[in-house]
């Protein structure tokens, strides 16, 4: 197992390096000159030249690449060319927000999806199953930004229970301000996510419930709840974990739309803003981080498999 993890981590280094390199060159292929972007429509060629030189963008692209790469190895991701903040600084301010939304929405999704999925599977083809399925469909189909706006109008504008936009730091401003700012965006993300998970829980459980070992367990006279919790559910979770892992990684790389609606500058908004501004260092830094997140999420999912199903072994 350890050997397997080490091997995967070595692979990961190459994958991340490949992503970063690809992005480095691809972002430069997108039309639009960052210098002109910064100077605005009234720029003069002299000012553009001076700025290009200052940012090192007048050097050959391979020189820029080598310079960037060697600083990355030293842990320096450079400075934003649009705003001057360090890339590490931008990530440090953005990542906690994205992480907070991800964790909270994941918890909300689990809290909805597990019970609902189980009930739907056990009461298959009953009214409650149909109801859950309809709600799941609605949840999947509802665009997050729309649901987010509805939540704002209801809970912030009408009821005035929760703030409409923004983010409060957990460490600086305390638990309730943090939570109150996060509830609505997490709910908006979490319900859509719950809908997807719930369908996997239901399908997985249904499949397993028909298996021989479940019948055996029942025949042994085990309580129905034990059969479901110990034998059926655990085995039905493999596809759920796969989907959850990918979704989690997606969320961690920033829920751009939700971050925009709720004016939270997480990784997603930082990245999209940087792409618009042709802010190369930020784009490179954030993508690097996202590549790491994806690789790690996949690794963790693979490890979780071994706990869920002892037959899965890596050697």
């Amino acid at each position: 197992m350890t050997q397997y993890i080490v091997r995967r981590l070595i692979h990961a280094v190459f994958i991340v390096w490949g992503c970063a390199t690809l992005v480095f060159f691809m972002i430069r292929l997108i039309p639009g000159d960052p210098v002109l972007q910064m100077l605005g429509p009234e720029y003069t060629p002299e000012a553009a030249e001076a700025l290009r030189h200052k940012l090192g963008l007048d050097q050959p692209i391979y020189v820029q690449y080598l310079k960037w790469f060697s600083s990355v190895l030293r842990g320096d991701l450079g400075d934003s060319i649009a705003t001057g903040e360090t890339v590490v600084g931008a990530i440090k301010t953005g990542f906690p927000k994205t992480l907070s939304i991800t964790v909270l929405s994941f918890l909300i999704a689990l809290a909805i999806a597990l019970p609902a999925g189980i009930v739907a599977a056990l009461k298959r083809n009953s009214l409650i199953d149909y109801l859950v399925s309809v709600l799941a469909f609605a949840g999947v189909s509802m665009p997050g930004f729309w649901f987010g706006i509805i939540l704002i109008i209801l809970f912030a504008v009408q009821l005035r229970w929760l703030p409409a936009v923004g983010y409060a730091s957990l460490t600086k401003e305390g638990f309730w301000p943090w939570l109150s700012h996060l509830l609505l965006p997490s709910l908006a993300v979490g319900t859509g996510y719950a809908a997807i998970l719930m369908r996997f829980v239901r399908a997985g459980l249904l499949e397993v419930l028909g298996m021989d070992y479940v019948r055996t367990a029942r025949a042994k006279g085990l309580a129905e709840w034990t059969v479901i919790a110990r034998h059926a559910l655990r085995n039905s979770l493999i596809p759920v974990v796969t989907v959850a892992g990918i979704q989690l990684a997606l969320l961690l790389s920033g829920a751009v739309v939700i971050e925009t609606v709720f004016s939270i500058r997480g990784l997603g908004r930082i990245l999209v803003g940087a792409i618009f501004d042709k802010d190369y260092p930020i784009v490179q830094g954030v993508i690097l981080l996202i590549a790491v997140i994806f690789v790690m999420a996949n690794l963790i999912v693979d490890i979780i498999y071994t706990f869920l199903d002892p037959r899965i072994r890596y050697g």
């Binding site: 301010t93 703030p163 936009v165 609606v261 004016s263 500058r265 803003g273 618009f276 501004d277």
Partner: protein
């Protein structure tokens, strides 16, 4: 040409009238227009009578030097409190005045962090800011400013005449690449005979100099910078956490790019401590979220009200909406360099196919004024509303449009509208309308940087653009319609228009000039230089407990604001 006595521009106060007369007399017509526009545009509160209180409050000033005009019923204004300002922008790129290219950041944020030599009053006259008085010599080439005694930067350093020289050198340093360096082109020398006197010499007289180079807000190029702060933190960090000399100072720890920052009252501001303790600038890029944030009470004020929320906010009696006529125009460009758009019939067919009012209703929530030219409604002395203008050859007429489309053979042509809008609603509406005359319209959406490059290079079929508010709306004609205009990237060239545009800069007879502008407008309509579409007003909104706001077009000077709660 008559000789002018430029000494009238000397201060402690120059009325808008004087500025305008001088501007007109010396051919700086655009500048005069702007002044006149802004005068006509005296902001009209549209809700809640309580907000009619224009310049209600002025800080209680120990020095007695009240920066903002108009006396106040004393005892009304209250000190203290935090104003939460919802700010509609993706991210603030920099707060360094010499580098700011985002207009609303310059007029609404930087102007609260930095004072300049002079500032505007609500009638757009010039009144003292850091300079207590100033003189201009007879031929308009030498400005002598007398600074207030005891001025300070936020870091406690004294602010002296030498600091302006340092600022001048910094802004004009080619390596620094300031986009505003060109506003200092005419300066031949800048000297400080003593600590409180600044002498600036120009190579030729230029009426808008005080406004474009020395004013609080627009005068970014000469807004004084603390040398020590630059040396301590460097240019890049200074853009994030500037050390200014205005009524509010940035709290460095609070600055988070893309989230906003906090500003606190500067105790040592020459005008006395501002009334508010603190302003929290919160960035809310998404328009509908901005409106919700105001209605939910997350913020007390919005810098600019998105069109989509105007009706909603008007209906809210706890909120005051302040609206001033716009100084802008927007139209549809068709690229003369790309056939068939070199053919006036083809362009006319397009223009006549656009129902302006319907376009405004569908694309802009009905919150704009149909346009028949590049003269904005705020320019009262020359603007003529569509219904009084008489015949506008560009006006909507679908039958004629179809006939012209047939004649010019554009039916079935495909055309791309280049757009940098994130929400290309106007383009979508145009697409539907132009289908009526058989055009196959596609929308090519690009990011700003790519859009600007293509636009500059004249690489497009059509796009929607125009002149946004500026310190000099003469740009709005000259830049777009003069054959050598910098923003004339679509190849319009009419010698008669060139001649008239040059003429408007030379004459000082108002009637004559009005006729010339109208003549220009007639030609532009006939040529379909642009298919003119609409003008938008400038809107801000706040809760009725926000008092003392002085509406100065395009600015948000906040030192007079206080909270009644």
């Amino acid at each position: 040409m008559k000789r002018f006595d430029w000494r009238v521009l000397s201060g402690p106060r120059v009325s808008r009238r004087t500025l305008m007369q001088m501007a007109l007399a010396t051919g700086a017509v655009g500048f005069a227009q702007w002044l006149s526009a802004c005068a006509g545009g005296g902001a009209t509160p549209t809700a809640a009578p309580a907000a009619g209180a224009t310049p209600q409050a002025v800080p209680a000033t120990p020095s007695g030097a009240t920066p903002t005009a108009a006396a106040t019923p004393a005892g009304e204004a209250r000190r203290g409190g935090t104003l939460r300002l919802g700010f509609g922008i993706g991210q603030i790129l920099t707060l360094d005045p010499a580098q700011v290219t985002q207009g609303i950041v310059a007029g609404e944020l930087v102007s609260n962090i930095f004072s300049s030599l002079v500032q505007f009053d609500k009638d757009l006259g010039l009144i003292p800011d850091l300079a207590e008085t100033w003189e201009v010599n007879e031929d308009g080439t030498e400005y002598t400013f007398h600074l207030r005694d005891g001025l300070k930067f936020h870091n406690g350093d004294p602010l002296l005449a030498q600091d302006f020289i340092y600022t001048y050198e910094r802004t004009t340093n080619p390596d620094f690449a300031s986009p505003h360096a060109n506003k200092l082109n005419l300066i031949t020398s800048i000297t400080a005979p003593d600590e409180l006197t600044l002498v600036i010499k120009l190579s030729e007289p230029y009426a808008p100099f005080l406004a474009t180079a020395c004013s609080r807000g627009p005068g970014r190029a000469l807004t004084p910078i603390s040398k020590r702060a630059i040396e301590e933190m460097g240019d890049q960090q200074f853009g994030l956490t500037p050390v200014g000399c205005g009524p509010f100072m940035v709290v460095p720890e609070s600055v988070e790019v893309g989230k906003g920052f906090r500003m606190v009252a500067f105790e040592d501001w020459y005008g006395g401590r501002p009334l508010l303790d603190e302003i929290i600038v919160q960035i809310i890029p998404e328009p509908s979220s901005r409106i919700s944030a105001l209605e939910a009470g997350d913020v007390d004020m919005l810098d600019i009200v998105p069109a989509s929320g105007v009706e909603q906010l008007k209906a809210n009696d706890r909120i005051t909406l302040v609206e001033a006529p716009g100084t802008n125009w927007i139209g549809l460009t068709m690229n003369y360099k790309r056939p068939p758009w070199d053919n006036v019939d083809a362009r006319m067919a397009v223009s006549k196919a656009i129902n302006r009012q319907e376009f405004i209703d569908k694309a802009l929530f009905g919150l704009a004024v149909p346009s028949i030219g590049a003269i904005a409604p705020a320019f009262g002395w020359v603007y003529v509303p569509p219904e009084q203008w008489g015949e506008n050859p560009q006006g909507y007429n679908l039958e004629e449009a179809k006939a012209l489309a047939e004649k010019s053979g554009i039916r079935g042509t495909s055309v791309k509208i280049l757009s940098s809008a994130q929400d290309p609603r106007p383009e979508e509406v145009l697409r539907t309308m132009l289908q009526e005359i058989g055009l196959d319209v596609q929308i090519e959406q690009l990011q700003d940087a790519a859009y600007n490059e293509r636009w500059k290079a004249g690489d497009y079929d059509m796009n929607i653009n125009g002149s946004v508010v500026d310190a000099d709306p003469d740009d709005g004609h000259w830049n777009f319609f003069h054959s050598k205009g910098p923003w004339n990237t679509y190849g319009y060239n009419n010698p008669k228009v060139d001649e008239l545009l040059e003429g408007t800069r030379k004459t000082n007879n108002q009637d004559e000039r009005r006729q010339m502008w109208h003549e220009i407008q007639r030609i532009l309509q006939r040529d379909v230089a642009y298919a003119f579409l609409y003008h938008t007003p400038d809107r801000t909104a706040f809760y009725t407990y926000v008092k003392g706001y002085v509406a100065i077009p395009e600015m948000r000077y906040l030192e007079t604001v206080w909270l009644e709660k």
